[in-house]
Symmetry: C2
Subunit: 442 residues, 2 copies
């Protein structure tokens, strides 16, 4: 028998809220095709994905000249625009660099496939078998600046983990990225996988980024990689879930019981081994008991490394007798990520005061303690809440490669989903598989 | 020597962007105090947290009359407003119910503490010891509707996992929640923990929810629990990271090779054991080969369970000879979460067509297949991408209690951070601890 139609609550799904494909914006169309490709990628076994990655590496080498020629156009445009040589260097692709990028792709082939890993499993009291297994996230959007090698890195890591990727590089690398993605898509398609698994987001304008940030339901996660203002924009404006990466206001704390030689080594390595990276130290905190012995040596060592010290009054007291370049610190210095040969420095009354300073000012990336005291090491690691706490080691170790992950899609500084260097497992989600023999709930 | 001050890039931290405490809004002040409390909670050992939980359970029992009296005011107001008896029942706290809530808190005492668990660890080739350990998220905001038992549940789970919690219940339970939180805070303070670890978000207006959604840097995660419109609002408007919970448009697919008795049992249990919950089935898909045998029986069984069937034309063909109440399905039915004695039903040509239907319309909660075919079970679990895929088991098992987690803060339907039922580990993040002997990076 037929009855009157009920009027249930209706919550429109993605399918009823999406406009028809033909009337979608170019960005949404790309995302829609990525979502379809992601569904095809998800169940693929490792061997199929590895073959596609090997094909990409080969194609990059075979078609190097096509890539380098496209890159030359970007470089010419950058020179015209008066771009600094440092940035032009980061943008430049030589045949050697393309070979190195292809070799990085082969390294990804060698990494284990995270998809299918059983994260947790048990037989429930009622006999149901419960398994939690890793599955791809689906569609990953990467918004990044300058370096065209990120285009290939991100595509390789996403493919290996069964994800489709939407790449939104900077306008300054448009020709290079277009050529790289063309080569990758041809290789992916040639290996029998959907070419739409790797796409450049159409459009060079800011509007295409805004559309990507609103493509909830089509895009599963956005990962911004670049400067603080890019990341801030994506984090505050996106309704697609975001993994925040990268800002690093890292601290080195030299405890009362530190080995002085070790403290100097770790300070100089953390600050000056490479200054432009997020895991470089930006603030030095020194326990008052060791300051008279440590600071004169530290200031000289920083001077030798070419580092300018932004000193609080208690550090300043040691400056006159040193070779160091020292300026008075303002409160602003405590939350500055210099990314240059500069460091803020303060003397603190105790380990707890160091922790308090760090809690107030850190961006939550990496903090190091140098100490010979087991209690101090334990208390510092317990109280400091950052992605990484280093004991008697340089802040510079916070890195997917250094951690042995084999690859890194970025360093998450947020607490949800992934924290710290992100490798392949961080590009996955999980699903539960419940297997019964007709089990019903009583 | 002193030098000219450099002009580094300055990215203001939370500390420089926050207004002074006294000029903060009441919601931000609460969040600020929660953040301070969270820092104190993080390093606490399990025994201290368990003592506080036991004190909460005791206090709930000792002060039951105070709670029931406050609850009576909410109920009187709800009656005045003409609230339905079903909702009044959900709102009501009797002495028995308070005792049950206290008993739930004691169950949380018995659960293992996720904090401190070593998730991953290794010694790197250079001799550095690397450990990834679970740490609390920090400040968790819960926005929820109606039931006052959520107030206590959420507080207990957050405390156990070392998190401070900001509770934003519905205005209709304001008196009950105020009394419950007063009792909890007294117990927490009495146990020597910061009372601000548990706070009711001040203000009954929508504005207080909006402020909570903008408290990025103070609040680490928001978990909305309630109807679809609440969740939708939080997910699209919050700049604090959100864990999306709850909407469930769950499917039961009866394969060509299904055991018919089992299929009937699972269908009826999934749909009608409890209709108002997110893991109840909302759509039945039947393989065309088994439809002639299965559908007449299924329609009768659904009729007996009091379920109205929203049928596609191929299901409709079987309706005339059955006792079932059947209406013609419209496309809208495929994405409707009825939460009532209604089910949408369609015949599909194949397993792959069933998967296609599910992919298009599911909210990604739980899908079940009934089949005796190993290949069909394998293909369905591989291709369906939802928090839970059930093979020969009811959709109703997707639940933290059923999964053996001992407690549940909600069911995540998103892919980031947590997916499916969330227990205590899902209320944590991790940090890396790097231990060396003066290691520096070369």
């Amino acid at each position: 028998m037929l009855a009157e139609r009920a009027r249930p609550a209706h919550y429109p799904s993605l399918m009823t809220t999406l406009s028809p494909y033909d009337s979608m914006s170019p960005v949404n169309r790309a995302a829609y095709r990525a979502k379809a490709a992601a569904a095809d990628l998800a169940p693929l076994p490792r061997a199929v994905k590895d073959d596609a990655l090997a094909a990409i590496a080969d194609a990059l080498e075979v078609r190097t000249s096509e890539i380098v020629e496209a890159n030359a156009k970007d470089i010419a445009k950058a020179r015209e625009a008066g771009t600094s040589e440092a940035i032009i260097d980061r943008l430049t692709l030589t045949p050697e660099r393309v070979r190195a990028i292809a070799s990085d792709v082969r390294d990804v082939v060698a990494l284990p496939d995270p998809v299918g890993e059983v994260v947790r499993g048990s037989t429930l009291p009622n006999g149901i078998d419960l398994r939690q297994v890793r599955v791809p996230l689906g569609v990953v959007g990467i918004i990044y600046e300058a370096r065209p090698n990120v285009t290939v890195d991100a595509a390789a890591l996403c493919l290996k983990s069964g994800n489709a990727v939407l790449l939104r590089g900077s306008a300054s690398a448009y020709e290079s990225n277009t050529a790289l993605v063309r080569v990758i898509r041809d290789a992916v398609g040639g290996a029998g996988l959907p070419a739409d698994a790797v796409q450049l987001v159409p459009g060079e304008s800011r509007e295409s980024v805004r559309e990507l940030m609103r493509a909830r339901g089509l895009v599963d996660v956005l990962i911004p990689r670049g400067g603080a203002s890019l990341i801030q924009t994506v984090v505050t404006e996106s309704i697609v879930p975001v993994i925040e990466t990268g800002t690093g206001n890292c601290h080195v704390y030299v405890d009362a019981d530190a080995d002085l030689d070790m403290a100097i080594d770790i300070l100089i390595n953390s600050k000056a081994q490479r200054v432009s990276v997020c895991n470089a130290a930006e603030t030095l905190l020194v326990h008052q008991d060791i300051a008279p012995e440590f600071l004169p040596r530290a200031l000289d060592a920083l001077a030798e490394a070419g580092v300018t010290v932004h000193a609080d009054p208690r550090v300043l007291a040691y400056a006159k007798d040193s070779k160091a370049t020292v300026v008075e610190a303002t409160p602003e210095d405590w939350d500055t990520e210099y990314l240059s040969y500069d460091i803020a420095a303060a003397v603190v009354d105790s380990l707890d005061k160091a922790v308090e300073h760090i809690r107030l000012w850190t961006s939550g990336h990496t903090e190091a303690i140098v100490t010979t005291s087991q209690q101090a090491a334990r208390r510092f690691t317990q109280l400091v809440d950052s992605t990484t706490v280093a004991v008697n080691a340089s802040t510079r170790f916070t890195d997917g490669g250094q951690f042995g992950f084999g690859a890194e899609i970025g360093i998450s500084t947020q607490k949800l989903h992934a924290r710290g260097p992100m490798g392949l497992p961080e590009l996955t989600s999980t699903k539960y598989i419940v297997t019964g023999d007709g089990h019903i709930r009583r």
